[in-house]
């Protein structure tokens, strides 16, 4: 069973959002997503300072199997990126909610209002996908 920490928010595209202080959101892909992708071997992150809109493809994760876009779950400016993933992309497999974080975004006014799922709702979605 996938690990779905209760304190995070989720999207139906299998990203997670952690609300940090000062209107900043941390973003990554879920345990379910990393498991489905298999061993991750390459990660491409957006440049610092780039403005992303919720739903926009903003990063790429390539696994042994395939390349997948990662969609911004919120709107705002990219103020942090996990450059350690460049040499250790497997951190996403090993610790998707910790060392495998991908971006930090300073939310635009209203930028965090995008429709996200609670942990319970995301678990529900996973249950439906596996049916």
């Amino acid at each position: 069973m996938s690990n779905v920490p209760p304190e995070l928010e989720y999207t139906d595209a299998h990203e997670w959002i952690r609300r940090l202080p000062d209107g900043i959101a941390e973003v990554g892909i879920t345990d379910h997503a990393q498991h489905a992708l298999g061993d991750i071997v390459y990660v491409e992150l957006p440049d610092l300072g780039r403005t992303v809109s919720a739903g926009e493809a903003c990063a790429v994760v390539e696994s042994v199997k395939s390349a997948s876009d990662v969609y911004a779950p919120v709107s705002g400016e990219v103020i942090g990126r996990n450059d350690a993933l460049e040499t250790a992309p497997e951190a996403i497999n090993q610790d998707p909610y910790g060392a495998g974080w991908m971006l930090r975004v300073r939310l635009a006014p209203g930028g965090g209002d995008a429709k996200t799922l609670s942990a319970a709702a995301y678990l529900d979605l996973l249950g439906k996908e596996s049916d």
Binding site: D39, V60, E62, V64, A67
Partner: protein, 363 residues
């Protein structure tokens, strides 16, 4: 639902992620494809390869039939217990399948063919067998395991009685023999030393579990694919098919054009291709730029020469870089560009294998 090997339930029990391969439900990996790959390069891994087709060709005319059917020459199998890799061609020189042929006895051979080509191959063989006085038997009663890696042979030998172990360990590369219930060969598809073991299907799960208990990591098709790619070994359906010939598939070395008196199927077409020269060749690529992973069907641009296409690509765990095979114009030089997600990335043209016996051969 696809066809299942006798080990299907065991794979599920071991947590395998299953995938369709040539109409068969097979394990892709049991957790981490990269860890399985590394286990084979550094120690040992065990693969279920029972989806492959085993066909016995028996009878007075079996050698003559195979001399007609195969582009490599079974006359090279001068004694029972020898094995040979080669292609079976159509009249146009296109590759129907690539296979291993073992000489079991003076007039008995065993062929191991690709899972997805079993039915096509059998129909082709039967069609051409009339008049040769042979029986052709698909050995669905057998399962096949591959145990591969620097420690694989020693680990497998531990499961045998001392005299049998000694006999198995004495096998030279591309040699095989019967050892108890096993037909064991020193062959494989990984670029590492190891055995392939054919045995009665009923004993396959016990052998798989015994090899696991002895230290072999269970490995799926994902690792099998990256291992064979690093080892420079073609995959049927990716790197060659009925529309491509051995010369443009880096398999010219498996075609025995001598003696000229051996008129094997496809020979006339290959002679014509030899005279005019191949327009394309299959090469290895090593990605130089960062920016993604080389994958099948990506476009390859040879500056000033033309375009080609990647036939197999992926991430090499041993080299920690992306590698590929590509079919490109014959005049392609030493560097190309590959279209990866809208960008042109530089790749160096190399001659496979990329890795052999755990050691990188390119840098």
């Amino acid at each position: 639902m696809g066809r299942r090997t006798v080990l299907f339930d065991l794979h599920r029990t071991l947590g395998a992620r299953m995938v369709d391969f040539g109409g068969w439900d097979m394990p892709l990996h049991y957790g981490s494809q990269v860890a399985e790959h590394n286990a084979v390069r550094r120690a040992a891994g065990v693969f279920d390869v029972s989806h492959m087709g085993v066909v016995d060709v028996d009878g007075a005319g079996s050698r003559e039939l195979l001399e007609r059917l195969l582009a490599n020459d079974v006359a090279k199998l001068t004694a029972p217990g020898r094995a040979l890799y080669g292609c079976m061609l159509n009249e146009a020189g296109g590759i129907i399948d690539d296979l291993l042929v073992y000489r079991l006895e003076a007039s008995a051979f065993r062929i191991v063919v690709n899972a997805g080509r079993r039915d096509v191959d059998l129909a082709w063989i039967r069609r051409h067998a009339a008049g040769f006085g042979v029986t052709i038997a698909e050995r669905d009663d057998l399962a096949m395991l591959a145990v591969q890696g620097p420690e694989a042979r020693a680990l497998a030998a531990k499961l045998l009685a001392p005299a049998q172990a000694q006999a198995a360990l004495a096998l030279a590369p591309f040699h095989a023999r019967t050892v108890g219930e096993w037909y064991v060969s020193r062959t494989g598809y990984t670029g590492e030393d190891g055995f392939e073991v054919m045995l009665p299907a009923a004993g396959a799960a016990d052998l798989f579990e015994a090899l696991r208990a002895a230290g072999a990591a269970p490995c799926g098709l994902g690792a099998r694919d990256t291992l064979r790619l690093e080892a420079g070994l073609n995959l049927y359906g990716n790197d060659m098919d009925e529309q491509t010939d051995p010369f443009e598939s880096a398999l010219g070395w498996t075609v025995a054009m001598q003696p000229v008196t051996r008129r094997f199927l496809g020979r006339d077409a290959l002679e014509a291709i030899e005279r005019r020269g191949s327009a394309r060749k299959l090469v290895g690529l090593l990605l130089l730029d960062r920016g993604g992973v080389l994958r099948r069907h990506q476009t390859v641009i040879a500056p000033g020469v033309g375009e080609g296409e990647i036939t197999s690509g992926g991430f090499s765990p041993t080299l920690e870089r992306s590698i590929a095979f590509a079919r490109v114009p014959a005049a392609t030089g030493t560097e190309v560009e590959v279209g990866v997600r809208g960008r042109a990335l530089r790749a160096r043209v190399v001659k496979p294998p990329f890795v052999r016996h755990g050691q990188p051969l390119v840098s």
